[in-house]
Amino acid sequence: MEAAAGGGCGSGPPPLLLSEGEQQCYSELFARCAGATGGGPGPVPPDATRVAPGTATAAAGPVADLFRASQLPAETLHQITELCGAKRVGYFGPTQFYIALKLIAAAQSGLPVRIESIKCELPLPRFMMSKNDGEIRFGNPAELHGTKAQIPYLTTEKNSFKRTDDEDKQQETQSPTMSPLASPPSSPPHYQRVPLSHGYSKLRSSTEQMHPAPYEARQPLVQPEGPSSGGSGSKPLRHQASLIRSFSVERELQDSSSSYPDEPWRITAEQREYYVNQFRSLQPDPSSFISGSVAKNFFTKSKLSIPELSYIWELSDADCDGALTLPEFCAAFHLIVARKNGYPLPEGLPPTLQPDYLQAAFPKPKRECALYDSYSESLPANQQPRDLNRMEKASVKDMADFPVPTQDVTGDDKQALKSATNEALPKDVSEEPATKSGLLPPPPALPPRPCPSQSEQVSEAELLPQLNRAPSQTAESSPAKKDTPYSQPPSKPIRRKLRPENQTTENQEPPTTVSGPAPVATVKPHPTVQKQSSKQKKAIQTAIRKNKEANAVLARLNSELQQQLKEVHQERIALENQLEQLRPVTVL
């Protein structure tokens, strides 16, 4: 091309020798100047290769702008223009343009503006772009290009979006009773921060916020980034080209998905985590499902009306099997939270709450499944009482989520639990009033569990996040009175998880001390965990002993009942004999 350029202009300026980088840069600049005149096609750089060198001309306007952006004095620019031959031929052809650019580079390097200067190796010319030039650089200031420029600079955008979004969302928020947790009105800011680490969600957020956010807010952002982008020359251009293409593909994806303008129906990661915990409290195996009655009891505590709950169930139970899997449960919970915060229930299940979407967006970690699988296998018989235990704890936790007067809920929960567990666990129920009174009673004798095989060390790692979550949950609960019941629920799961790891037994005393320091020292999980692990061994031994005693008692009871059954059988035989004896009498 250099030879052709040199030969094409005939006896004009000497042939140019351009390096690869220079060639690319110059051709792009030229194409931009040429393309900008015609209001150019969208992606600029690809066209550069298609521009036939000899045919296109760059209009004087953009070229002049470009030259001015090089921040050279006007005289120098005049000289350059003369030298490159544009004045002679009357237009900026590619050869003239390239020569001019080379001269600009020379001038910027401090060399005199002479033809001879362009023969040596020179750095690329630097152009300080003003805002207008920035627009020209990016072609027509369409939305696409605006965001294209922003993709590398999302950090600054994030703040502007967050600001505008906060304003929008605060206007939308009507509900006076805001739950302390991440309720839908507060989820957009969370959403801005949290999922912005995911590439897909990042772009999705930028496309969505594009529409409401005023475009002017973005333009000032373009300006300060202009100079830095101008400095890197053609690199951002090409980068933007690939970005444009990928972005347009993603835009297509997001156009289908950007029909999710409904922020309240999107579950943030924090919310998701919370829902998963609640699910685990009802059903330890995250890959299994919650039965209808269990879910009904749980959701009834939200104090929504039955028709509304019925409708929410209808929306969330996609396969209509009367049970909730984890994504269905999350959807239902999210709808309940939304409804409590004043959002009207949708006509149909929003696309972001569909089970397959939720499963794809938030794949559950495998190791937790494994842990809970081994868990659930080892606890078949004791599932029921513990479920009720956990439901109670869940209800206690829910008092923070469902923005209802806490006193009413505790009263109702107590009654509900009392009626439900009258036969099963009188012990636990009697402990709840003690809990509510603000004391920290010794932990109830949980139904003793046979020690399963050693589970992975991973469970300890999980405990730590759960311990950390527990303090955050307690922090969120406003009434201080609830801190005690809150402290107890985290300690229970901690103990449960630690037990499977230990083979030795321990007294019931250490669990008392464990639950005591546990809520206090939740901030220092590591030493506490190790202490607990040693104490839990004794606890297990005690539990085994108690189990054996209970077995003995039940065996005795069994034998007594068998005896009674035999007696009843004998009575029945006797009566039947009598009946047969009497029958011939009646027939006659």
Partner: protein
């Protein structure tokens, strides 16, 4: 197709009744009510020996001048009654059967909802939508 669709509980009170709003609905309610006798008759006639083999679809219960009434009973004695316009001669038995099958499926979905107490009025929106689709189809 259907002009009126009704779901009657075992104790013969309506769980769900809806008619096309063109004419006075009371007439349809009356027709459904009288059809219950016919349903009981059919059940009792088949019931004793062939309880297991009793088909759920009862067929045409009785025709009137303008309408035909079809019936369907589930194993839990919940009855579905459908009133169809007589002028709609294109309706075949198979289509009526399929409509009843859809009704039955939607009804079981309603039952699966733990918040639904058997014996309550059916207020499920999904059920409403399904019935609407059946009623509008012909129109």
């Amino acid at each position: 197709m259907a002009v009126c669709v009704a779901v009657i509980a075992k104790e013969n009170y309506p769980l769900y009744i809806r008619s096309a709003p063109t004419e006075n609905e009371l007439k349809f309610h009356y027709m459904v009510h009288t059809s219950l006798d016919v349903v009981d008759e059919k059940i009792s006639a088949m019931g004793k020996a062939l309880v297991d083999q009793r088909e759920l679809y009862l067929g045409l219960l009785y025709p009137t001048e303008d309408y035909k009434v079809y019936g369907y009973v589930t194993n839990s004695k919940v009855k579905f009654v459908m009133v169809v316009d007589s002028s709609n001669t294109a309706l075949r038995d198979n289509e009526i059967r399929s409509m009843f099958r859809k009704l039955h499926n939607s009804y079981t979905d309603v039952m699966c909802n733990p918040f639904y107490n058997p014996g309550d009025r059916i207020q499920s929106r999904a059920f409403d939508n399904m019935v609407t689709s059946m009623m509008i189809q012909v129109c």
